[in-house]
Structures are given as structure tokens and as C-alpha cells.
Amino acid sequence: MASKLKIKVNGLVHSVSASLDTPLLYVLHNELHLHGPRFGCGLAQCGACSVLLDGKEIRSCVTPVAAVSGRAVTTLEGLPALYAQQRGTTAATPVLHPIQQAWIDVQVPHCGYCQNGMMIQAADLLSTTKNPTEDQIRTAMNGHLCRCGTYPRILSAIQQAASVIAKGGK
């Protein structure tokens, strides 16, 4: 049975109509028309659906929409604004999150389908671990699957983004 809910996504509160057990992913995708989080397995095995919930990576494919009530959801689309907020800047058009810029600079994606979760997880990592070692990156990213073989470039891109953030961002 559909219920009226309010959820906060990328800084805005949205009214949505969904049954309480509907996974957040379908609300983000079908009601809010966001393209970042996407369906991969529905089993929390691959990470294609990842979003940040109060800054921590979660799997939106297994998280009931009711569980995010009163909390802040950030999707890939919201990373630039989140980064601006983390840096305390108020630019009208936020620059890309260093993770996103590094993904472009290193030319990470092939098909790009899994990269949403990769970038969300990497943003989570760098928000808590400023200068991660290679082992820390490998461990943090281990729950995200890519089928095109982009892991080596993701590793390079995270290292580049960490270095940018360490220098105060840009």
C-alpha cells in the first residue's frame, strides 16, 4: 500500500508516494528520475546502486525507503554540492568533487554502469581517510564489482583525488 513520504535527497526534501518497504533505489530512479544510482543485483552484492546516507555509503537496492526518513541521501548527482559543503564554499555552480574530476582525468570508465557506486564509495573513503594507503583503498573498494576491468584506473584516480583534497581541493 502506497504511503506519502518525505525524503531528503541532495539537499532537497521531496514528497513521494511509495509503499514503505520499496527499496530506496526505485524511488530515486522512478520517482525522482535520478540516473546515478542504478540497479545491478538487488542483493547488495555489486554496489551499482550505492548512495551516501548521512555521508556513509549504503546499498539503495536493499534499503527500504522508510529507513531514510529524516536523514540525508546524497547521490552521484549531489557529490559536487556535498564537496562544496564539506569545504565550506557556497559557489553557485559547485566544481566537481575531486573524485569525479579524477575519474575524468584518469579516464576511468568503460561502459560506466558500475562507476556510480565506485565514486560514491571513494567519496566516503576520502571523507574519513585523507591519505589512504593502497591497501586501504583496495579494502574499501572491495565490495564494488566492475565487469570492464577498471580497477587499476580506479585505484589511480582515488590516489589522485586524495592528493588534490590534501592540497585543499580546487
Binding site: S19, F39, G42, L43, E77, R147, Y151
Partner: protein, 814 residues
């Protein structure tokens, strides 16, 4: 409201990026799709491939000086379209950033060409699509120079072009001013892909390679910024007004598709009962049935998912599969059609006189394409025509599964392409298109189907398994005297899909293969007259005549065996399997000859395609010569290195690859860790080295996954590897460092049309899959060097390695 929003988005995108071609929502094949006054580009009948010899089929100049490029091939993450932009920018003298690729839509006023076929497989994207595009751009430039000469009153010879502006006599005019929004109305001289003899017409002159400023440079992929900001519209994001969400309901995992029940139907999909009341509590959910096909539709996606999960359905169960553990015995025992592919010298006599002989069997499992995003398609089937929104490498061929289930004529089937998740070959998308089209036809509304993870793992078209028995003989000088290769391989099952099988729909001829019965039930008698494409590939590409130019005695026998699953090409199809077998055997022969693995290959291989990749991979890895496994360690964790080469041959693209693998093996657990991979690939004239290097890094990583982990598991009844836990792939922690080198050939230029299909100019050969085929034997050879134990069955899981170590007395037991 939801559907309407996306409807608008679809229309706007098509309009803005469509070079002026107007698409009105979902109206099919009607006036809304006809040419719009003032639109650039050719006006053609929808769903009919336009004249490939017309410049307008390939390019349009828009009034704002931008260029529309009507791509002949699909790009699924390889960077092919960025390369196409570079090729056009070079010949046309425009900025890469001024070129856009309109929405790929066979129903627009400007359908994209299917000549060469838009199906992008066999690494043929740039190889086959680049040359006609290049020639079209050169011809377009000639037309524009002619117009500028007239307008400026300056002879063509005195004109110069820069960034889409023509200058001469102190005046300048832009391409947009000359032709914006109008047609070229010109033929591409010398290009006649339908001719049967080589063309001799005078062709528009190409830039000489020495003048190149854009081709050969590292232009970043234009599609990546949208991917990293979440603004790419994947097919999974497309929404239509009034659309329902559909899910097929099938047994969890396919059974033996080609075994028949006593009643004559396919064993896996015999429907015994459906209890529609079991989903009565889900508002709006509806069961859709035809024959053995069962699906559900609902307005809300999660309701459709719930309905599919909760619908009570009973299926027949029969023990018609061999089970994973017995698959290689089974493949030898089922009906097969043997073919002698090569036989020269006298193999049997040579083995009798050899100084040393070896014999070994190599085995490769069924593997999953397994896109991270399960395949998705949106179909709108009406009595007079259908539209399918579909991803993938197929282009025009996406009409085929829709035709198969709806019976509609091809000219009434419109295909709109959006990107999807990588499948690394064509067919995993087909079954989903067929499901969507069938359900849309049955409910009379647009239906979006995205398979669930267990549908994808359980019902896709797998890469086939394989067995090879190889014998090798050495002479007294350590050279190969004779090579005898026998292999077993199931054919592709393209042309049949679960939906056609379940509904008993006759399968129309597959335009891409010219056949209708690949892998179909009738094939089980091995009496089909349809030789599989794999027939020539049982061995010859991994150890081809090029590799072994002077081998005196050689025999290759290929057995095409009856299939048990839906199968289709999977990256390096029918190359990765023989490469695994043969390059492992070559390593065994090198060891038997007491020679270094690199030196042994060098002693046999002089070909100018194979040899450079061998030497380059070795150089990248700083290869130190020694006989493999000659320095075994008693430590628990031991290290080793292995080398291998492979090649891939297609009509237009022969590609060579070499890999060195460095590994660690834990002799207690059996776990193999690949620490570093070095890859060299020769793909001819390189349009964009950065794109190729990115593909190479991906292929090395993906090849590691296929070598170490990937094996489709199945019981006697059905497939059991239904998700990423039961069918594991390489994880981030375990990926190797990669070092790659693309070997380019800036001098590789075809000077004249050699055949109707070739076009003079730089020869691009392709780069999308070859390197992956070399990774398995390189890793296996490295494991041998580290442990002295030879792995002959993939994947190299800890359990299999431990078993082999134990059998070889090399298990660490302290």
C-alpha cells in the same frame, strides 16, 4: 506524470542532439518521423538502411557550424565514437568538439547506415566503420571546397580550411554558411560496398598521415564527463508514457535447452501450472502468458518485481544436464560433427620418430557475460509496427529478436539505441528484447523489462566450454616436429531465445549468420547443414600458420558438439579457449626442450604480427631467461612468471597480443594472486592510443577474473550460479598492477582498394578483445614456473590449485 517527464526528456534529447531530425514522442512510423523541413541530413524511409554511398548518410553540416556524425558502429565503452570524431575532424578540418553523434534511431528521418553492418563485434568497430567514414569526410570536404570556391570566387587550389572555415582571397566562409541544414547530394567516389569487383573510381584525396593533427592523439573520451556526473541516459533510465514494468518468470536457472521432453517440448521450460491468485494482493499486477512463457507486468517497478518473485509457478524438472563436475566427459560423449581443419606432413609418422613427445588435455568452462547492469529493453509493440529501445552492440540487428516474437516485418521495427552495461558481445541483450516485445504485444502497452540478477546469471547466453587434447613432438634440436590438436566446442545458439523457445515461435533466419538453427534442438543430431562460425577456430588462431610458419607435421581436428545451454560469443570468442590450451602446451614443450619459455617461442616464431608482441611483452616485464620451474622455492608463498601470445583474425582485423604474468602462489591455500601483468597489443594504425591503452588495462584485469574465478556451475537439472556469490568474479583487492603498450603502425596504409570492402587509407585493425585471450595461459604458465605444477583446467581456483599441488607433491603442509 513520471512517464510524461521522461517522454519529454526523450523527445528533447532526440531533438537537440539529432542534428535537426525530429522525433515526436512515441508515434511510430508515422508522419512525425518523416523529414522535417530544414533538417540537415538525408531524408529516408524509416527502418530502411540508407544508401551507404551517399555522403549525407554519414555526415551533416548544421547551420550553427556543428557537424552531425551518423555513426556506422556502436560504442559500448571502447571509445570508438571518440575515434570516429577524430577521423572526421581530421579529414574535414573541423574541431573534434564541433562534432556530435545524434541519437541512434532507425526510425528517424535519418536512420543510420547498416552498410557495413552496424553490429559491432569481432573488434570491428573502427576497423570496418572508420574507413568509409573517413572517405565520406574527405568527399564532404571536396564538396565544401567546391561551394566555397564558387562563393568566394577563388580557385579550390588557393583555398585553405581551418576549424570548419574556408579562407581564400582575403575572405572566409564557414561550413555552416556554405551548407548548414542542406544536403551534400554527393556520392562517395570509389566506395561501393555492394560491388563484386574492386572499385577503380577516382576517390577524394585523403590527408597524408604526416599531416595528421588529430588522428593518433590522445583525445579524451567525450562521453566520460556525463558518466561521472550521473547525466548519461542509459537504456535503464528511459521511460515512456503509459509504460508498464515487466519481468519474465522462469525457473531459477536454465536447464538443458536442447533436450526435449517426451512431448517434444524443451525440457527446461515446460510449464505445469500457474496460480494467478498468488499475486492477487499486488495491485495492478497482471500475469502475461503464451505457451510456456510466463511474465508479469505492473505500473510500478517494485510491484512487478514482487509479483515475479511471489507468483506460484510449477515447472517440469528433468535430469538432462551433466552437472559441472562431469561437463568435460559429457562434451566428448554427445553427438558431434568432426572436421579436419588442417592436416599436413605426416603427423603419425613424425610422432614415431620424435626425440620427445608430450600429450595433455586442457579444459575451459562455460562463462558468463554478466553485465553489472542486467540487460534491459523497452518495447512498444502495436499491430502495425514496433519500437524497441535497446542497448548493446547490435544496432540494426536488434530488430531480429523483436521480429522473432512479434512476426512483424523488419521495416516496421524501429530500434532506438541507448547505452547499457557492458556485455562484451551481442546476444545477452537479445533475450531481454524478445521478452519485452512479447509482453508488450500481449498487453498492448509499452513494457520495460530489466532482468533481475538471477535472470541474468541464469538465463543469459554463455560463452561456451571447451576441451582440447594436444600432442606435441620435439626433434633432437628442441624444435617442434609435430603438433596434433583435437578439440570439442559447442556452437553459438544465436537466433533462439528463451521467449521464442517457450512460445514455440519459429525462428526467422539470423541475418548476421545466415542461419536459423544454430544450437537449436534439431542440431542435437549433428545433422544440421549449418557449420558454426567457430568451426575454423578450434585451434588455428592460437597457434596459426603465422605463428608456426615452418612446422613440418600438423593436424587440427575440431568437433562441433551438441549444445546444452544458450551460448553466444563472449569477448575473444573461440580464441580464449584454444589460446588457453595451446599456449599452455607450447610452454610444456619449452620445458621439455629444457629451454626458456620466451626463447623457445622466439625460435619458432618470426611472423611480423606475432613476434613483436612477444618481444614487447617480454621487454616490458624485463623478462629474465631461465627454464621455467627450474628455481623452485620451498617457501609457502612462491613466485613465478609466464608468457603467452595469441592472435585474432577477422576479415578486416587481425590483432596480435602478448602477455607476461607475474604471480604469487600460496602453496598451503592454493590461492593464486596475480601481482603484475604486462600486455602488448598490435592493432594496426592507431586512431587514439589512450583509448586502446584503457581497453588493454581492462582486458588484462578481466582476463584475470576469467582465469582465476569464473566458472558457470550447474546441477543435473539447472544452472546454479545465479549471482555474484555463486558466480564470483575478480574483486578490487585482487586486481593486478598493469603495464600496457599499444604497438602502433603509422605506416600501415592501404594504398588502393584491394576489394570492394576495403578502402584506401590507414588500416585500423581493432583493439577490443584480443589481449584478454592471452591472460589465461600467461597466468597458468606463471603458476607452473612458481610451483612446478601444471594447471590444465580453468579456472585456477584455490581448490583446484591445491589439488594439483597435492598431486604433484608440492602442497605446503608445514
Amino acid at each position: 506524470m513520471t512517464g510524461f517527464m521522461h517522454e519529454k526528456e526523450f523527445s528533447r534529447k532526440a531533438f537537440v542532439k539529432g542534428g535537426g531530425a525530429l522525433i515526436v514522442g512515441m508515434s511510430i512510423l508515422g508522419g512525425g518521423l518523416a523529414g522535417k523541413a530544414g533538417a540537415a541530413g538525408a531524408v529516408n524511409a524509416p527502418n530502411v538502411s540508407p544508401d551507404a554511398t551517399a555522403v549525407d548518410t554519414w555526415l551533416a553540416i548544421n547551420a550553427d557550424d556543428s557537424v552531425s556524425l551518423f555513426t556506422p558502429k556502436m560504442d559500448v565503452g571502447q571509445g570508438t565514437w571518440t575515434g570516429f570524431k577524430q577521423i572526421v575532424a581530421e579529414e574535414l578540418d573541423v574541431a573534434v568538439s564541433s562534432i556530435s553523434i545524434p541519437l541512434w534511431d532507425t526510425g528517424s528521418a535519418h536512420p543510420f547506415t547498416n552498410n557495413p553492418p552496424s553490429q559491432t563485434t569481432g573488434s570491428n568497430g573502427t576497423a570496418n566503420g572508420g574507413p568509409p567514414l573517413r572517405q565520406a569526410a574527405a568527399q564532404a570536404r571536396q564538396v565544401l571546397l567546391g561551394l566555397a570556391s564558387t562563393q568566394l570566387g577563388v580557385p579550390v587550389a588557393s583555398l585553405s580550411v581551418s576549424a570548419g572555415a574556408v579562407s581564400g582571397g582575403g575572405k572566409t566562409v564557414t561550413y555552416g554558411q556554405l551548407l548548414g541544414g542542406k544536403l551534400f547530394n554527393a556520392k562517395i567516389a570509389g566506395f561501393n560496398p555492394d560491388a563484386t569487383t574492386a572499385a577503380n573510381a577516382v576517390v577524394a584525396p585523403l590527408k597524408s598521415v604526416s599531416e595528421y593533427k588529430v588522428v593518433g592523439t590522445r583525445v579524451p573520451r567525450f562521453d566520460i564527463p556525463d558518466m561521472v556526473t550521473g547525466t548519461t541516459t542509459y537504456v535503464q533510465n528511459v521511460r515512456l508514457a503509459g509504460m508498464l514494468h515487466g519481468r519474465p518468470v522462469r525457473p531459477m536457472g536454465q536447464a538443458n535447452l536442447f533436450a526435449t521432453t517426451p512431448e517434444g517440448g524443451p525440457a527446461s521450460a515446460t510449464l505445469l501450472s500457474v496460480d494467478e491468485s498468488s499475486i492477487a494482493h499486488i495491485a495492478g499486477a497482471q500475469v502475461v502468458r503464451q505457451g510456456n512463457f510466463v511474465g508479469v507486468v505492473a505500473p510500478k517497478e517494485y510491484d512487478a518485481i514482487q509479483a515475479a518473485a511471489q507468483l506460484k509457478v510449477e515447472w517440469s524438472n528433468t535430469d538432462t544436464l551433466p552437472g559441472t563436475g562431469d561437463q568435460y566427459n559429457y562434451i566428448r560423449s554427445v553427438p558431434n560433427r568432426p572436421a579436419q581443419i588442417l592436416n599436413y606432413g605426416n603427423v603419425d609418422t613424425a610422432f614415431g620418430s620424435a626425440a620427445k613427445t608430450l600429450a595433455a588435455t586442457y579444459e575451459w568452462p562455460f562463462q558468463n557475460h554478466g553485465p553489472i547492469g542486467p540487460c534491459c529493453a523497452i518495447a512498444d509493440v502495436r499491430p502495425d509496427g514496433a519500437t524497441i529501445f535497446a542497448p548493446g552492440q547490435d544496432g540494426w540487428a536488434s530488430q531480429l529478436p523483436v521480429q522473432a516474437v512479434t512476426g512483424l516485418p523488419l521495416s516496421s521495427i524501429r530500434v532506438v539505441w541507448y547505452p547499457g552495461a557492458s556485455t562484451f558481445n551481442r546476444s545477452p541483450n537479445y533475450p531481454v528484447m524478445a521478452d519485452a516485445a512479447l509482453m508488450s504485444q500481449l498487453v498492448g502497452k509499452p513494457v520495460r523489462v530489466q532482468w533481475m540478477r538471477w535472470d541474468m546469471h541464469g538465463w543469459e547466453l554463455y560463452g561456451p566450454n571447451y576441451v582440447a587434447d594436444i600432442r606435441g613432438a620435439l626433434d633432437t634440436n628442441g624444435k617442434i616436429l609435430a603438433y596434433d590438436f583435437v578439440s570439442w566446442l559447442p556452437p553459438d545458439a544465436r537466433g533462439v531465445y528463451p521467449a521464442t523457445n517457450q512460445t514455440g515461435t519459429p525462428v526467422p533466419p539470423d541475418a548476421t549468420s545466415g542461419s536459423s538453427t544454430r544450437g537449436a534442438p534439431s542440431y542435437n543430431g549433428a545433422t544440421s547443414n549449418n557449420a558454426p562460425s567457430g568451426g575454423a577456430r578450434f585451434e588455428t588462431f592460437s597457434t596459426g600458420d603465422q605463428y608456426f610458419p615452418n612446422l613440418p607435421n600438423r593436424r587440427v581436428t575440431g568437433n562441433t558438439v551438441a549444445n546444452i545451454f544458450y551460448t553466444c560469443p563472449l569477448r575473444c570468442p573461440d580464441v580464449i579457449q584454444p589460446s588457453w590450451a595451446s599456449e599452455s602446451m607450447i610452454d610444456e614443450l619449452a620445458h621439455a626442450a629444457n629451454m626458456d619459455a620466451l626463447a623457445f617461442r622466439q625460435a619458432h616464431c618470426t611472423h611480423n604480427g606475432w613476434r613483436p608482441v612477444l618481444d614487447t611483452a617480454a621487454k616490458l616485464a624485463n623478462w629474465q631467461p631461465r627454464v621455467s620451474a627450474s628455481q623452485l622455492s620451498d617457501e609457502r608463498v612462491v613466485t613465478g612468471r609466464g608468457i603467452a601470445i595469441a592472435g585474432e583474425n577477422h576479415a578486416m582485423s587481425d590483432i596480435y597480443s602478448g602477455v607476461v604474468a607475474e604471480v604469487q602462489v600460496d602453496r598451503k591455500t592454493g590461492k593464486v594472486t596475480v601481482t603484475h601483468l604486462y600486455g602488448a597489443m598490435d592493432s594496426g594504425f592507431v586512431v587514439n592510443p589512450a583509448s586502446i591503452e584503457n581497453q588493454m588495462a581492462g582486458m588484462l584485469t578481466r582476463g584475470t577474473s576469467r582465469t582465476l574465478l569464473e566458472e558457470l556451475t550447474f546441477s543435473k537439472q539447472r544452472v546454479t550460479g545465479l549471482d555474484w556469490v555463486t558466480y564470483p568474479i575478480l574483486r578490487f583487492k585482487d586486481h593486478a598492477a598493469v603495464t600496457v603498450q599499444s604497438i602502433g603502425h603509422p605506416d600501415e596504409v592501404v594504398s588502393a582498394a584491394l576489394s570492394p570492402q576495403t578502402i584506401a587509407g590507414p588500416r585500423y585493425r581493432g583493439a577490443g578483445e584480443s589481449l584478454e585471450a592471452v591472460v589465461p595461459p600467461a597466468i597458468g604458465n606463471a603458476v607452473f614456473d612458481a610451483t612446478g605444477v601444471r594447471m590444465r583446467q580453468a579456472p585456477l581456483t584455490p581448490a583446484k590449485v591445491r589439488e594439483a599441488l597435492k598431486a604433484g607433491g608440492r602442497l605446503y603442509t608445514a
